[in-house]
Symmetry: C2
Subunit: 261 residues, 2 copies
Amino acid sequence: METKNPVIECLMNHRSFRKYKPDPIPKETIETILRAGIRAGTAGGIQPYAFIVIDDPEIMKKVSYIHGPLAIVAVVDQYRVKRYYELNDAPFYNDQAINLFISYWDATIALHNVVVAAESLGLGGVYIGMILSQDLQESLGVPEYVVPAGLVTLGYPDEEVDLNPRLPLEAVVHRNGYRIPSDEDVASWYREGDERWRDRFENEWSEERRKEFLDHGVTNRAQHWTIGHYTEEFTRNESAGVLRNLRKAGFRLAEAAEQDD
Amino acid sequence: METKNPVIECLMNHRSFRKYKPDPIPKETIETILRAGIRAGTAGGIQPYAFIVIDDPEIMKKVSYIHGPLAIVAVVDQYRVKRYYELNDAPFYNDQAINLFISYWDATIALHNVVVAAESLGLGGVYIGMILSQDLQESLGVPEYVVPAGLVTLGYPDEEVDLNPRLPLEAVVHRNGYRIPSDEDVASWYREGDERWRDRFENEWSEERRKEFLDHGVTNRAQHWTIGHYTEEFTRNESAGVLRNLRKAGFRLAEAAEQDD
């Protein structure tokens, strides 16, 4: 296929690695991936995000339940912008929804550049979403107008991992407008994963584990996710953490929402 | 340098292109970049995002003020997840902050994969942040639990563009904790851009334009951004659009924020 090249091969080859060799990552490699990170597109050259690179094992334990030689936290950083504006007698009103979401976008794609660059150099890692609910004022001393946007742990992989399945392209891609799918569409998109789950449930799980899930009303993959894993309580607690971080950082969302309309 | 390779070169070479040749993008190229997009990491295989690919010129005009042969809107898509859960008698409570932000993260990095793949194939584009405040229920018929997460226009570049400057690495990167910078640090990080702005202001701008800016209190780059460009009114209006989209889509942020604590 004419559209194959090393960049696309690298992107297509992504998988999540959670176990790493103890080997440290050379300084030049870290600098290279960070430099690739900050080349990602960013709103008007302001770069309203930051990376917090973590190689101290004690601090790693505070921010991540997966530990590698390196972790990188990406944060929305309107604090630096505010400091810059103050030095230049420029008014600051970037504590609002648009600034939060634009900065979050910039932060996640900058971190993604880091990850893609790292993978091209033989490193592997995993994104950890639970960073979003963590109090980084507590663990990393971030100031006002800074909230978590992403976390990746990185290292040289010490496990074999298969490519994770993805939904078929037509489940994700719409053309010139959103096409509401039929029940048959939705069922067919998720069928392969559902069947894989059922096979494991019936043939690989212990009788005890199977019974425990059935007792909680888990009879399929969707229920496993939403009752067994990302439970209502988990979702509510994580969300409370996200909103607490936004409020403590000084972003105005609730108030503006009430004023609006 | 041993850490150079085609992937890192591609990432380092990113620039924003706003003018495109009229040449259409071959179907196989579009399919390749979309397939690279959906290989990006995603929470638990749920893929709570979607792409809306736009090549209809009338719809392009509705969603983007920059027009190319192709535009791709990335959206948070918890609607598809809800439909899947309903089909499987699984409860849905993904209308909360953590689901919004995790899905937004997944959507932006999937779109970023598309952009990186596109750039590796000679395409160029630009991210357009104003998509976040647009009513996609109106323009693209998106259902509940779907909100905009990103927009890129793509085409074969028809302009020469220099690499945009970036802040020095030490402005963006912290180690094992957030380091509060001194005023001297902040000033020095932005100095190169500030001086470039002053040079243009003094030597390239017309007397009339200079006077207009001075009359509005714009004497430096920071004031240009915050008084001249991303004004208070603009920021407030964009933020109102973002929050309206979240509310209309059914995401609960304000309410949860009040309950919290």
